[in-house]
Symmetry: C2
Subunit: 200 residues, 2 copies
């Protein structure tokens, strides 16, 4: 089993634009980060039914990423920004949400489990995943914490063709030196997906 951190950033390294949150998922201008997810341009005002489908190399990349997953971890900020995905975990396997506010945890059938710290979430996700992989999604702070703890085997970064100029930077304040190996690259018109192995 592998621990796989994956996230999308701008060319200048931001994983959200300004004012990201519940009403404005990826922040002002940040929807361009996820054009690759919906096969082209979309806005926060679009009805969910009008959103397009992932295509081409974007889909090849994503399908390979999720094929081996048994569980996932994300931060509370990402969970809230995504509107708890409508109240039900859309991913295969349990999603562990790292949060200090565990009192409003949803019921188990939702597929979400609130956990008060990253290490505990990682332990529970490993146990839930068994032989399968564990994904670490955003936010940026959770990925930095996982990299800092030496817990990441594979780092997948999708870079969208936009310079945001502001927002949350993936590697803000991260001070470690890490050697990586490029495992594969999937280029599409909407993003360049590069998957790295983190050397131990």
């Amino acid at each position: 089993m592998k621990i796989i951190a994956s996230i999308t950033q701008s060319v200048d390294g931001f994983v959200t634009g300004p004012d990201d949150g519940p009403r404005l998922g990826l922040g002002r201008g940040g929807e361009r980060l996820h054009y690759w997810v919906f096969g082209g341009p979309w806005t926060y005002d679009d009805d969910e039914r009008d959103l397009g489908q992932m295509t081409g190399e974007d889909k090849v990349y994503f399908d390979a990423l999720v094929a081996g997953l048994g569980a996932a971890i994300c931060g509370r900020g990402m969970y809230d920004a995504a509107g708890a995905w409508g109240g039900t975990n859309p991913f295969d396997g349990r999603l562990f949400v790292v949060t200090h506010r565990t009192d409003d945890a949803p019921d188990p059938p939702s597929g979400f489990t609130f956990v008060p710290g990253f290490e505990e979430a990682l332990g529970q996700a490993r146990a839930a995943a068994g032989d399968r992989d564990v994904a670490i999604g955003g936010g940026a702070d959770l990925i930095r914490q996982a990299l800092d703890a030496g817990a990441v085997d594979v780092l997948s970064i999708s870079t969208a063709p936009v310079v945001l100029g502001a927002g949350k930077r993936l590697f803000e304040g991260f001070g470690k030196d890490l050697d990586l190996d490029i495992l594969d690259v999937h280029p599409s018109p909407f993003a360049t997906h590069v998957t790295y192995a983190v050397r131990r």
Copy 2:
């Protein structure tokens, strides 16, 4: 003619490690940024004759980049860090060096021209290049200045598989929002070269 800015960065967006300068070109640990330039690992202690050659996709990318160049611009820091390339411009076409200290300018046969500001350097480089392209190399501050001035047609970023954790960040303090289009991607084991058109 196009204005092409190109530079190599780490996965966390640094174009040098700490302490870059005349004796330590790309800074501590920064030589890994340029493994792609020499076909594999090298160190600052290597004799120039022992350095390897660019290979595969790295060479395909670089040859296409330089094929159309008529002149280039770089910052004084990069010029000094490179030891003035031994005193003679190794590139095709004149190299304009942006520097406030123009009193120690080398003789014209060196192929270098010292110019006190970016706009003036750009004007002179355009004139020297004629129908051919103008390259803008590092440092990071020069590329930010060129992007901020709306002077860049093509932005080429080579990302090496290393997290540096410190150094000079390409987009540090850059606050503009820019839409880009991916023109092409050249993946190699040593870097992922992505070339973008900057939308006007």
